[in-house]
């Protein structure tokens, strides 16, 4: 399997950590080399998979259509996604979907600097699809798992180069992301408890 070009794994991350991942880098000088964002818990990402509630869509384009979608994760934090003429399928999904809806997004992390000089992180979608609540819940638990795995590695202070890079680039306590994982899991537990009480 080593001979085939490797496809980038879609990393799992809650919006709180994703929006903090402002440091980007390349692994080589090649123009076409993939751009990675660095998660504060010490992992690089060139692709993400996220599931959340699409709460708002808006065409923010000036000359041509450029759709913004706000996708809220279980903690109430927002992923921003933008799709224009080069993402026609995703753009038409954002044009046509009626919020609120559970959506799954596969896409590339992108950073940009606002006029105020603030770094923002967003997702350039490869695909957007509607999913059900069970899929959202599975993503939530999976994303908590992957986040915790990263935190364990980070705290172990292993020789992992991306953990080292995160320690150098960020001054953000990873405890925040553990709390985000706990809060997301607790919200799911509460939801399930309420659902079974209603029955």
């Amino acid at each position: 399997m080593a001979s085939t070009p490797t496809r980038e794994v879609a990393k799992r991350v809650f919006a709180r950590e994703f929006n903090d991942a402002v440091h980007t880098f390349k692994e080589s000088d090649d123009d076409r080399a993939p751009v990675y964002v660095l998660f504060p818990t010490g992992q690089r990402a060139n692709r993400v998979f996220l599931v959340g509630t699409l709460t708002e869509t808006e065409d923010v384009g000036e000359e041509s259509e450029y759709w913004q979608g706000r996708i809220v994760d279980p903690n109430g934090d927002t992923f921003f996604t933008y799709a224009g003429q080069y993402q026609p399928d995703a753009a038409s999904m954002l044009r046509e979907l009626e919020p609120p809806a559970y959506v799954a997004v596969v896409g590339k992390p992108r950073t940009y600097e606002t006029e105020e000089g603030e770094m923002n992180v967003s997702v350039r979608p490869e695909s957007i699809s509607t999913v059900d609540e069970a899929t959202r819940d599975r993503w939530l638990v999976e994303t908590a798992e992957r986040t915790l795995d990263r935190i364990v590695d980070f705290q172990a202070g292993t020789a992992n180069e991306y953990v080292q890079m995160a320690r150098e680039e960020y001054d953000l306590p990873v405890e925040n992301y553990r709390k985000a994982a706990v809060a997301a899991l607790e919200s799911l537990e509460d939801e399930q408890a309420r659902a079974s009480a209603d029955r």
């Binding site: 794994v9 799992r12 069970a134 899929t135």
Partner: protein, 311 residues
């Protein structure tokens, strides 16, 4: 080597040549007997030698006689017991025989997967070597608790081949979110040339040029669990099961839209972003979906929550 065993071999060989040569079972058996009992040649080698003699006399190639009319199978195609088949396979692993009745036991593999084999002591066959590739004619399939194996018996012809096989892992199980449907998925046309089945690009087969293709359904999908990606191929049957779109239905859709790509679009809409588990043999970098399920039972946060609170 008992006389009855030689007799059985003689009958097999006789049957292979009864149409073309005027020999009797008795004559074949005598030739075998000379080699085995006088010259102490192993039975399989003796049989090979006798067969070659008759091939020369008849002016035939070894391919002409096949394996005595058996079907040649790939490992993952073994799906019922007590069938006589031919296999080309590599000895992947040899295990310790647990019984004196068993001469060798282990694992054979080809591109499509692996299968257990047993070789009986009383069959008196040549010894198989690990990592060597063999042509095995006349092996019998067997089943125990849903798992298939093959048995080498006294009529099995073993021929060592000077080649290698890339053995596939059988029955890989992969799961994850379906994050991509690759191009070439949906309603495709395949080359109708015998043994070709290549998917046509713009009506052309890369081997046979412009041909009148036959419609088929297939999906090349990517499953991603956040740690690794796996490419999965659904054939027509599993595509129909996954999407609820039949081949006939897909052709209707394409006809109405005057475009086959609507089928791929519909498949994307139905599957992207959902979680699946797929089981099947691996072939190159692909897992061929024999079976799949959508993972939509309620997710349980409890275990992860305990872990989250403990670190």
């Amino acid at each position: 080597m008992s006389d009855t065993d030689l007799r059985t071999h003689a009958e097999d060989v006789h049957e292979q040549f009864s149409d073309t040569l005027d020999v009797t079972v008795q004559e074949v058996e005598e030739r075998l007997d000379t080699l085995v009992n006088e010259y102490k040649v192993p039975t399989s080698e003796a049989r090979r030698s006798v067969v070659n003699t008759y091939l020369d006399e008849a002016g035939m190639d070894r391919d002409d006689i096949g394996g005595g009319g058996n079907e040649r199978r790939q490992v993952h195609e073994v799906d019922s017991p007590e069938e006589w088949i031919d296999l080309k396979a590599k000895v992947v692993d040899l295990w310790d025989a647990q019984s004196d009745a068993v001469a060798q036991v282990g694992l054979l593999g080809d591109e499509t997967g692996t299968i257990k084999f047993t070789k009986w002591s009383k069959s008196d066959l040549q010894s198989l070597e690990e990592d060597a590739v063999y042509d095995l004619r006349n092996v019998v399939t067997d089943e125990y608790q849903g798992r298939y194996s093959v048995k080498l018996n006294r009529t099995t012809a073993i021929e060592r081949l000077d080649e290698d096989i890339d053995v596939g892992d059988d029955a890989a199980e992969v799961d994850g979110a379906l994050v991509d449907i690759q191009s070439g998925s949906g309603l495709v046309k395949r080359c109708p040339e015998e043994d070709c089945t290549r998917v046509l690009q713009n009506g052309r087969c890369s081997e046979h040029g412009e041909v009148d293709g036959e419609f088929d359904l297939r999906i090349k999908a990517v499953l991603d669990d956040g740690r690794e990606v796996n490419e999965v191929i659904f054939d027509r049957e599993t595509t129909e099961e996954l999407t609820g779109i039949t081949l006939e239905g897909a052709q209707e859709m394409a006809k109405d839209a005057l475009d086959t790509s609507v089928v791929g679009d519909e498949i994307r809409e139905k599957t992207l972003g959902k979680y699946y588990r797929v089981v099947g043999p691996t072939f190159g970098r692909y897992v061929l979906a024999d079976a799949f399920e959508q993972l939509n039972e309620p997710a349980d946060p409890e275990e992860t929550l305990i872990k989250a609170r403990s670190i």
